[in-house]
Point group: D2
């Protein structure tokens, strides 16, 4: 850690800061030659509260040398992590396509769409049972029943399934689900993350709309620090000033994060755009950016769907997107299965 | 709701959209004269999924005429809501100062600081027991013990107390706490909001760093729709591109939100800035903006505090800020008690 | 235009607003059934100051039905515009690769790099002569001399050339340049835009880091409203809260803008990322997103370059990126030449 | 400057980087004990292209120790700069109120409003003659004539005047104007900044909607590096995701910037909000935040104004705001004249 001291600070105040840092078992050295007082702090700084030091009146700037995550970092584990879910491999040279409706609406619906997406080339089935909605008056999902319908579809078509969890209290209901999704709004629900870390069930962790890449990786670290190494990251758009799209899909995060972590990185091109016609292009763009897979909404009657299946592709359009993805994959050195 | 149809859309596609909307019990009329096809949708649109319609390939733009919140809106309740917590009044012409350490660190510490902030003029005591931290390796609060120390301080100094909840499972522990704080990261933890809505305990709801004002009010609506009308809003900074501050305090949200809702609006000037020297000026700016109160961190040894008490004021500086606030309040037509 | 009136507004204030709008030659009708007063404004509203009306104390919300741009919009010109620069075609099914160093540093350097990028498959040569830099102490380009070196390279290798203009007073110097680039910082330098609109020289208009898509298209409209229809748009990243990249490349803007305008849309993947290793993936992502071309920095000794050639690719890496692009183009239905 | 080297980089690549930096006359030392290779770079790094080094494949992070601005910085000039414009003092303990219409519409109008704002307590008269507008079809100001009307008003009421410049070619027309305003869109029009730096005419430099505080100060440095020390900074709102306001007024920038620079810092509360009813509260908030003055739009018939006088206060409302400001100023240790 490097601390730049504010010009004109009183020596005794600086000394007091140094003393405090020393008392945490860290070594402080002055760096010379910068035209400003700078201190280097050596030792295990991961337990230090950076904001605390930064807020001191004598501190001008504070820089971290080491990243705050450990187990999630590529330094810790240089090779790509490959997660095997019932033979479907996430990460490495593999590319997976997670598809299905935003919400499970009925047993018949989820089985019908499951067959369609499998036929088109999807390798994992998605379907929401618990839906966090910004309005308390909107449809909140079929809950327990939704999970059981999804499991029926799994049995019927033989694809692994993924669905979102919204409360640590529901965990028991997810025991037969193959991958548990943590949505953007719960990315910093640390109690939930810790609990998920105590199993070895794969977790797909979406990036919060307001999270920096570092915070996203720290949330992965929460899960991994409890023992569960099966974390898949998923970019789904960040909040920006642009009003034409609901969020701005941050595709440069894909190669950047893949440099910093060994975990698989997915993209959800459906939610950011908020317009169906953008889903296909952004799916192809995700492949170009080097993603390990995409997660996309497909519905055979989008206008009838009960929640924001809004940006769902029709099965025939999904078909055509999958075909294009397959044509592109060799260029980026990846393949499906 | 107004729907603008994309130029060149096929009539049968538009008809299909209209049919769907009709099937929800809503009336659709064509608006003439705009040089583009526009539809007005009349009826109770609060149950409609706006994103769903917006994603349709024939829809160019979609505008809401009515706000999506009801009970939280000023249309529903034109007068300011005043919440009485043991004689301390929030909202209306009242101004309250919530102060205390970021974290409760020991019984002795919280009682000592409680006395200091009360002497300086604070009207509510704050102190964190459960601390959501972005690193799993950082101090997470004294938890249950922290709450009991805070309650000791309440008994000792006679101020109502506020502390943050991070899980619906902890609710029982908060029964003697006067105001429950929902932090920015949990603003969209809907399960927690609903549960808090089922009591009548006052809730201070912080704005998420990524939340629009509308989403923030919808989270208040979640609580209120279950019956609890005692919601206090608290602005604490939003994520922007400016790197010098942790967040950008959105003070224009204060008069804006006070126009849209009848609920009290507070400001937390400590967390956004991330630098102690900005807390005082931003506290005074909050008064100027018309806030109903502030929530500020005070610690008598900030460098020793266990968490991001980072931006805490020293008691003597807090004293001087309170004095200035008191001098300013008559200008904005408010007073403490 | 739709105007939603604030609940509880005085009738005479609303009447006054209506009168004003009528006095601009527009017809105002009340829309019924919304549970809020809403007015429709019919007529040519492009001359109306939307902000003016919006600021009125009786106005709650204001929505535009028609887009504010005309000539730049796809409604005005449904077919893709194809711009022919000396046989090199921009837009439609064509894909072009603009490459070269950030700055022209010497005649020898630009000719050497021009040969390298042409050999690799570039179809247009770039090279900065006037460099807007955020520090007054940094290298600002070779200016006039830089342009003459660039023109020598053009003669030598036979590629059309593009370079950035920073002042309306330099226009004369650009007469032999094939495409004039307007940088992000000058996207709203309206005097410059108007002047460029008075010739028929192709203009590549970069999106400002703070510009909404609508503002970007309005800047194109500035050029086009003066007569020049040869405008190429170029996305290069917007300002967001994410600190790991200089800007966030907004690739969803590509399909979105291509829906709204008939103009070619390019992407500059070099500047947003600020890290060389992200340039390749983001170039491929741009192809996937449906861009009509990319503009990329190539330097044979990046560390020695005089300006932020920072994120320049080495010729050999550029080679490999071009090869991958060529392999991907058939998937998106495009080809080079 | 501190450079953190990417884990696993090849030694010869790092050596090459070090060699390059050495060749710029700088000394590079390795910092030990961080668990990652870190280099300190000593010497005058202001000429170095930080982005260039940062883009190197072996660089993980790069941190500046010294701020990139010099003359604009408080290190260079610890005391507050006070700029005297015809007896009206900007900076230090002084507070000034700049008021007037968005646009000069006629000689009669500007004189009438000038009298009104002077009577209410304004100390400087504003009025736009050149108006940069996002639509080419909107009113662009009375230009030369507008300046002459503004100067008539100056003669009539005896207040110094300020108006915006949009082109370096208009400079001659501004010779009798007291303060030249550089608008947000021209904050990085470096050619204009340099030219303004060659006179000693006071310049009010608005912050661009996308500018970091550092970039804003670098633009001040552009002016000051040419010799003109009379720069007044003016915050006017930044682009964020919040759609309810045009921009988000960044008031924490006020105390922050005042710590970093000796220049006066003003706030324009009219443009950010975009709603008249927010102007008053944000003006008072600016005083609380420690601003050296405000710039506010006043119009006696806002609905009739020709441009985005949108958010203009009526003279009577301005009157009441000024009165409140005067009551608040003693609290922050400032006074008008």
């Amino acid at each position: 850690m490097i601390i730049v001291i504010k010009n004109g600070s009183e020596k005794k105040e600086v000394d007091r800061l140094v003393e405090k840092i020393n008392s945490m078992g860290l070594v402080v050295n002055e760096l010379c030659g910068f035209g400003a007082t700078a201190l280097s702090v050596i030792g295990d700084t991961s337990a230090i509260d950076v904001d605390l030091i930064n807020s001191s009146a004598v501190v001008d700037k504070l820089y971290r040398i080491q990243d705050p995550y450990r187990i999630a970092g590529r330094n810790f584990h240089p090779q790509d992590t490959v997660i095997d879910v019932d033979g479907v491999k996430f990460g490495g040279d593999n590319f997976q396509i997670i598809a299905g409706p935003c919400s499970v609406e009925s047993e018949e619906q989820i089985i019908r769409i499951a067959k369609a997406v499998k036929a088109a080339g999807a390798t994992v089935l998605r379907g929401g049972a618990y839906k966090p909605r910004s309005s308390p008056y909107a449809f909140q999902g079929l809950k327990e029943e939704g999970i059981s319908f999804l499991l029926s579809a799994k049995k019927e078509v033989g694809l692994p399934v993924i669905t979102e969890i919204v409360s640590v209290n529901h965990l028991e209901l997810f025991k037969d689900v193959d991958i548990i999704q943590v949505g953007a709004r719960n990315m910093q629900n640390y109690e939930l993350l810790r609990e998920l870390g105590r199993s070895d069930k794969p977790v797909l962790l979406k990036r919060s709309m307001a999270a920096t890449i570092e915070e996203w990786l720290m949330s992965a670290e929460y899960i991994m620090s409890e023992g569960n190494k099966n974390v898949i990251l998923c970019e789904r758009g960040i909040r920006t000033f642009e009003p034409s799209t609901r969020c701005t899909l941050d595709l440069s995060a894909v190669p950047l994060v893949k440099g910093k972590t060994h975990l698989p990185v997915f993209v959800d091109p459906s939610h950011a755009a908020g317009k169906t016609e953008l889903v296909g292009p952004m799916a192809l763009a995700s492949v170009g950016a080097g993603a390990d897979g995409i997660m996309v909404e497909v519905h055979d009657d989008p206008l009838c769907s009960l929640c924001d299946g809004a940006q769902a592709l029709l099965p025939e359009d999904f078909d055509s997107v999958v075909e294009k993805i397959k044509a592109m994959l060799p260029v980026v050195g990846k393949s499906i299965q």
